[in-house]
Symmetry: C2
């Protein structure tokens, strides 16, 4: 939870309008920019990933952030800090994976230094040309809440990896996610109204709660409409995997009804927080409820 | 030396025209972008710096890279990874230092995560509007070699810090460098010809050698014309500090004679490598000579 405290300090120190969304929208330059770091043993373990998969996922995560803004992903820089034992094969495979994830996006620079553990920091740049850029604070009562795809698979895959499994669709969902480039493009090229969009890197509930808080609205969700792989039902706590599991890198958006695409999972209402309808009951979660749940339930991955 | 091997692997894997200069020039967007990482106990030690100085220098180093390209520095993103023991005061002071260094440049985003050691990765974006962007491969025989200011002070300051000194002009030069924004602007706004420019973050000889290699020319330098603080003569090996010491963050450029500004220290000639004239002798250094010397002489800081 310290991260959120630090972000508030940074906001207050800089007094900047930019800090808040995952991407900064630099209107003057017609670009959005985002930077994300992945630290060994905090965000990933080399026991669970190959260098190729690591390169792939590191890039994809940043492309996903650009997609969440509605911009067109174009360029990346990659800073790698590597321990002494890392050899050329690692670097080659990492960059082969990175290149695979690029899918038209170009890696144009970066940095390489020494370190004790593997440290990856990637910056992605997208173009806002002919796109309407999203903001977390733009959800409005009356908007529909839409989702690009399945939730819970990545968290299930992480659990399988921890339990020693190496393959399967959930493991693959965790290691080789796919950013929703087309979903983002279809929306951002056609919409003129202000809208909210995020990726679900920290889980569906975290994204819902963040949009609810930043937009000062109630996000009302019908649990039965959330898409997920039916084999998740083999996990006792599959509803938690779906709602709180991270790293599916799907997109969630709140948009006017006529721009609804993908899965329509609920409505934006006046109010505050996130409301989930299960069968015939409704549960209201405040942002504190969700933060506590995330912290207690998934702290191995925080 | 492993870094150079890895960079070649990255170049080969990506087959990109961008990898090479410190900044990537993205013509389509009218921007240059650069990313640099600073790792605790590799690039800095908390014994020698305050959080304020660390924030200041981390930002200034990236602004210097943008200046080296000739672009106008505009925006930064900062990714910080911080060990558990770091408190809010550290973050506040770091960002106060960062803000001080900005001098009109705006911090627009970034990331904050956990880690074992402090890890800082900064991306800087500059605008190429009304500027001619430099390239390391654009030095030509007949060009003048120019420099923005004193060399050796930062390396002398680092040595004093290691020896327990805490203050003084050399220590200050090491901890609080100043990027040469005006030198860069004056050149890039007025020149139309292709030219080479770098900052001297890895030392004067490294910059000379890199330009010589990338441009396939001989950089001929008159040692007596290199500006330095006369108190450096108190160090036995002051010529090494001047030539090989890093982190002065001055700019070196090879430009047509009519654009020469600052200190004119030599000439670009046909040939290869770096030639230094001391009093009445000339010494020719190949790029291998310089890399070996850097590796053996300054490896505590590599």
């Amino acid at each position: 939870m310290k991260e959120k405290e630090f972000i508030n300090i940074i906001k207050n120190t800089l007094n900047s309008k930019y800090i808040g969304d995952d991407c900064a929208y630099l209107k003057e330059l017609g670009i959005v920019v985002t930077q994300d770091s992945l630290v060994e043993d905090v965000h990933f373990k080399m026991d669970f990933t190959t260098p190729y998969q690591l390169g792939y996922k590191s890039v994809m995560v940043n492309i996903s952030d650009i997609c969440a803004s509605g911009a067109k992903p174009l360029y990346l820089t990659i800073a790698l800090s590597l321990p002494q034992y890392i050899n050329s094969d690692f670097v080659k495979q990492f960059y082969q994976g990175a290149k695979k994830a690029c899918n038209g996006v170009e890696i144009v620079g970066g940095d390489i230094t020494g370190s004790d553990k593997i440290f990856i920091s990637i910056t992605a740049i997208g173009s806002s040309k002919n796109r309407t850029i999203s903001s977390r604070s733009s959800a409005k009562a009356g908007y529909k809440i839409i989702l690009s795809g399945n939730h819970g698979s990545s968290a299930a895959g992480l659990r399988q990896l921890i339990n020693g499994e190496k393959n399967g669709k959930f493991v693959n969902a965790h290691l080789m996610p796919v950013a929703r480039i087309e979903f983002s493009k279809n929306l951002a090229e056609n919409i003129n109204e202000a809208y909210a969009m995020m990726d679900t890197s920290d889980g569906l509930m975290d994204a819902l709660s963040t949009i609810a808080k930043e937009s000062n609205v109630l996000m009302s969700i019908d649990f039965d409409k959330i898409p997920f792989d039916k084999d998740l039902k083999n996990f006792n706590d599959y509803t938690d995997l779906i709602l709180y599991g991270g790293e599916d890198y799907e997109l969630i958006a709140a948009v006017p009804e006529n721009f609804a695409q993908g899965y329509i999972i609920g409505d934006v209402l006046s109010g505050q927080g996130v409301e989930i309808k299960y069968d015939n009951k409704k549960v209201l979660y405040t942002s504190n409820d969700i933060e506590n749940k995330l912290f207690n339930h998934f702290k191995e991955n925080s």
